[in-house]
Structure formats: C-alpha cells, structure tokens
Symmetry: C3
Subunit: 249 residues, 3 copies
C-alpha cells in the first residue's frame, strides 16, 4: 500500500500516480492533495493525525516549499512504515507517533535544481521502489544511502500554569474548526472557559449547543478545539493558524 | 467493495480509510466527501441517485448533524447491499431505490457522546466488519442487533394540478443546476414553461440553447432541472435548495 | 486499469464508477474531475501532460460541451492505450504524445439527444467494455465500428522571431501558475525577460526568488511558465487562459 499526500491540488497528483503505477501494482490511497500550500507544519499535523490509523504502508509525502534548493530527499523508516518525502521535517511528527525506531536514508537526486516537479520525478519513483523492495529492504536500493539524521520538526507545545493555558492554533480544518495545541485534559473538568478573554461553554460535541453557537470541545485529535455548531469556529473566535490562544478556567 | 460518502471534506476521510484498511482488503470507492455540510436531505438525494448504479457493496455514509447526541448507529440491509450510517434517515431514499426488503440493525456504541469523530471510531470499523462477515451474515456480528426500524426520510413530492406543478428545489449540483422534485414527465410535451412566473424553454439538453441562456430540462435524475448552458441555473432562476418552484405549462 | 477524467465535480463521477464497476474489476484511477468546465482545450492540455506517465490503460474522458448535439462518441487507440471520449478533439494531443498509430472507432449511441448524462450512460459502459475486451480487441465489440478519423485539436504553437516569442496562456494551474505555449528552450540562456513589457527574472525554480516575487520558469511541462514564489503568477502577470503573451529577451 502506498499513501499519497501533497499540496498539489489537481491534476498534478495524477502524474505522480502514473509514475508509481508504471513501477508497482500497489494499492494507492490518497490522504489529501489539498493541504494548505507549502505549509509544512499543517501537513505534519495532519499526517500525525491520520497515518497512525493505517496498516503498514509507504507514505509518499510532497509538501515542499524548498523544491529547487539543495534540501535533501529522504526515506524515513519506522517499524513497517516508510515515508518518502523532502527533508523538511514534514514527516517527523507522524514518525514519532508510530511504534519503532526512526531510521533515515537519503535519496540520491541527480540534479536537484533542475526540475520543479520532484513529486513526479524524484519522490514518486522512490516510493514505488521502496514498496517493491519492501520496507525492510530499503538498504538494498541502489539510489538510497543511510543518513545520520533528517530535519526535525516539532509541533509547539502549550504551556499550562494553574488555571491558564497558553497555546496557539495549529490548523483550521475544512469545517472551520480551530484546532489548538492546548491538551484536551486541561478543560476536562470545566463547564466553560475564557478563550482570549471571551467565555465559551465546554461541551462533549457540537450538537450540545444550538446551531450557530460557539463551543470549546475536545475533538478526535485530543486537543482543545474552538468550534461553532454547524459553523466556522475559527471565524467566530477570530483566529487563524499560528495565532496565540489563551484558555482560562 | 466499500463505498464512502461524507461531508468531511479533507483529510478526515483518510483516517476512516486507514481504519477500514486495518480490517479488510476490500476495494474502496469514494462517492463524495464534499456534500453540503450536515445536510441530510442533500446526501439522501445523492445516494439515491448514485447507489443504484453500483454492484453489491457496503456503503459507509457519515452525514451526521446529530453526532454526540443519542441518535443510534445503524446497518440497513437491502438485498446484497448494506448501508452503515447514523440513524437519521440519510440512507432511506437510496435503500428504497434498491430491490429488496429493508432490514435494520443497530450498532452498539459504547459511549455515544464521547467522541466527535464517529466516522472513524464507530462507522468505519462497523463497515469493515460488515464487509468481512458478508452482507448476508450481519446477524453473526457481535456488536450488531436486529432493530424494529430506523428513522425514515422521504424526499418531498411535488403536487401536480392540471397545468401547474408545485414543487421545490431539492439540491443545487456542482454545475449550479437546480434540481427540483417536479417529475420530468410533467414538461415532456411543453415547448416552454413558466418557472415562478418567468418563461423558459424546455429542451432535451444544455447545448440546445445559446451559451449563457436559461433552459428547463429533464436531466439524468428524471426531474425538472433549472439550468443555464455553461452557466449556473440556480443563480439565473434565483433559487436555492428548499425554495418553492411553481412550473406552469 | 481505467483512468477517469471529467469536469463533473462531485458526486456525478461516482455514478460513472458504479456503472464501470458493474462491468469490470479493473483498477480505477482518477486523473481529475475538477477540470475547467466544458473547456476542451484545458482538458486536452492536462491529458497530454499526465497520460504519457501511465502504463497501458483505458482512459475515460468526459469534457463535453456538445452533449445532446449530434457529436459522435469515439474510441481512440494508440498502442496499448485507448481513449473513450466525445468526438471533440479532447484526447488528440494526448494521443499524439503516445507512441503508436492513432486508430479511431465510433461508438453507436442509440438516442444521442435523449440524455444529459452521457458520461454515465454512454462513455462509462463503453470504457468498461473496451477494458474487458482488451485494447487490442476493440474490433470485436458489437457497438463499435472503425471510423475514418475524429475531430482534431491542436494546442496552438508560439512563434519565435529572433529575440521575441509570441504565444499565449494555455492554462492556469491550481497554484495559479500561468502555463504558456512558449517553449522553455527560448528562455534557457536568459537571466531575465520582458513579459508583455515587464521584466521578470528567469529562474530554475520558485524558491530562487523571495516569497511573493514574480519569476519566469520552465516547469515540468517544458513550457515557459509565469509564476510567483508561493503566490499566483496569473494574477501577478495579469493574464488568463487564452491571453496573448509576448516574451522578449
């Protein structure tokens, strides 16, 4: 199985798939191709949320603001999973969320600055080759060499001091929910909280407030989420990815 | 085969797919994940249009404004098809459109109010289990019990009195075509009709009028559709889903 | 393998897939369903870019502004590939880009003007039948007859006179990059060029200019592209598909 994740929109991912299918009969599963453009942190967040739900697979990931620079191309192996991606940290949070040691390999790229479509010309063939060799046999690939490490990326942690948590908005999802880095446990015993100074109820899910009303909830990602029942929480709370969020009990 | 239908946008459906693929090698086919948010009627309409074209399959459907309330989770079997969905009627029109008796089962949910992502944690595992057991063996599943019935949902019918039909807009499709519930046969013998008082020609297809011009046609769903050749009929006719439509011959 | 390409948005392609899967177990791969509406030239461009990366396949293509007119439905065979499409030229540039002679067959359509959803009712069954018969056995299909030719469509060429190239914008991609028909080789030796009178640097890839800055580059399609690093080139250069572009060294 090969999963595909990018910020390519349409139809560029279809060219990657053709290249992969020239080399393997593997099942292909799209994770997303409409991730926020060149936003490595958002992609890292979503991969961390989604990949741990998958059986062993090769994960082809291309969110790559550094394409055409000398950033490396890497294969990151964790247990029976392998990520094939630019070396910008995008797969690190997901790799940490899986069971196993993280091993890094570098993909030889003949002419890194020559092409603007490394997804098709570098990463897609590499993902197919890793799949065909088997994740346990990455060492056998000619074009791949062990590497000491790869770029790290850590999603920021919130700080909790007594009744106040200082965090930030990590991403805004397609529903408009603002997902913060404040741990859900912080609001577990609260009936309501102040979010950046404005009070909102803490509820187990959206339908516990009237349509159009704001709430604070702990969604599937186990973080504090700023939401509106059948509306866009990010707009109602006036926040965007990267904005500071103070939650006070 | 498991089809997937939701209003989740991206990338949440990918988490559902991972959960399914942990449990089965079934072929997965996306019907849509960009349905109008929490619009049970629109989803019911599209499932009724699309599902009858499929071979026997398990249909995982999550359009669920009641998530986190005590609404039940159901499996609905019709012939060799099974739907796994929240008990809000979303699959009833499609179930009626298939051949066979409708049988209903309830899925045991441990803590209905605890999670905002039942698609991943309740419905995806249930769909995989139904697929692995086989649609004819739903009774054998531990977590599923026969139920007397499930919530019904009926798409409204138009009323036809002589030369006048009173109906409404059911959905607006991606092209901007306004699909009404007025039966296509009503306009079969008309060269033109009055739609909410304004005259428009009745044509067999879009290209029979000039680009940008309005028409009334009977599209693949066999209902009266308000359209514009290479344009947005809903805008030109000034209608939205749920709006009344009077068609006069 | 059957690839699917359309301008149908969602969820109409799912009905086509059901029809196909009633008739074959072939792997299905979506190329795109969000191509610019009824824009035959844009679809022809993207198919030419993407299809040559695929292994032998049946390519189901429905971008069809003439649906409901008497335009024919065709199968176009090139080597081990076959295209099933309306006869409007949409597959010609891709067919020319593949190795092999182009052979044309016409699909018998009982009542061409009767339906507005030929994708589901005409092209999807035909694609499944071609796949099941095998691309080398199209002649054996009852409903398909050899044809002398099909509608041609040629993407326009730029003219180069010394230091000046006159071309046009072929498409604007999802990133907002304006892809022209000026051959990349024309700017290979230039440090900067005048695009419609305004100077912009020629760079190997986006990251060679600051975020938000304009550049001229030669992307994967090997044509001159008007771009902005992490922005929308078409907006910055003020051009749309079909607009003239003069590039002066």
């Amino acid at each position: 199985m090969i999963t595909l994740t990018s910020d390519f929109g349409s139809p560029y991912p279809a060219a990657m798939k053709g290249v992969v299918l020239q080399r393997t009969d593997a099942r292909l599963v799209d994770i997303a191709h409409d991730l926020p453009r060149q936003d490595v942190r958002a992609a890292a967040f979503w991969l961390r949320e989604v990949v741990p739900h998958y059986p062993p697979a090769v994960h082809l990931v291309v969110v790559d603001p550094g394409v055409g620079t000398d950033r490396a191309a890497v294969v990151v192996r964790v247990g029976h999973h392998a990520f094939v991606a630019p070396d910008n940290g995008v797969v690190r949070p997901a790799a940490r969320a899986l069971d196993g040691d993280v091993e890094v390999f570098e993909i030889g790229v003949e002419n890194p600055a020559s092409s603007t479509f490394h997804g098709r010309d570098v990463f897609a063939p590499a993902a197919a080759e890793v799949h065909e060799a088997g994740v346990e046999n990455i060492e056998s690939l000619e074009n791949v060499t062990p590497a000491a490490d790869c770029v790290d990326l850590t999603l920021p942690d919130a700080t909790v001091e007594g009744d106040v948590a200082h965090g930030e908005v990590l991403v805004v999802d397609d529903f408009g929910n603002a997902i913060t880095n404040v741990p859900g446990g912080f609001v577990a015993d609260a009936a309501s909280v102040l979010v950046n100074g404005e009070r909102a109820p803490v509820e187990p899910s959206y339908a516990h407030v009237a349509v159009g009303k704001r709430l604070v909830t702990v969604a599937s990602h186990e973080n504090v989420e700023l939401a509106v029942n059948q509306g866009r929480g990010a707009d109602a709370f006036g926040v965007r990815p990267g904005d500071d969020v103070t939650v006070k009990k």
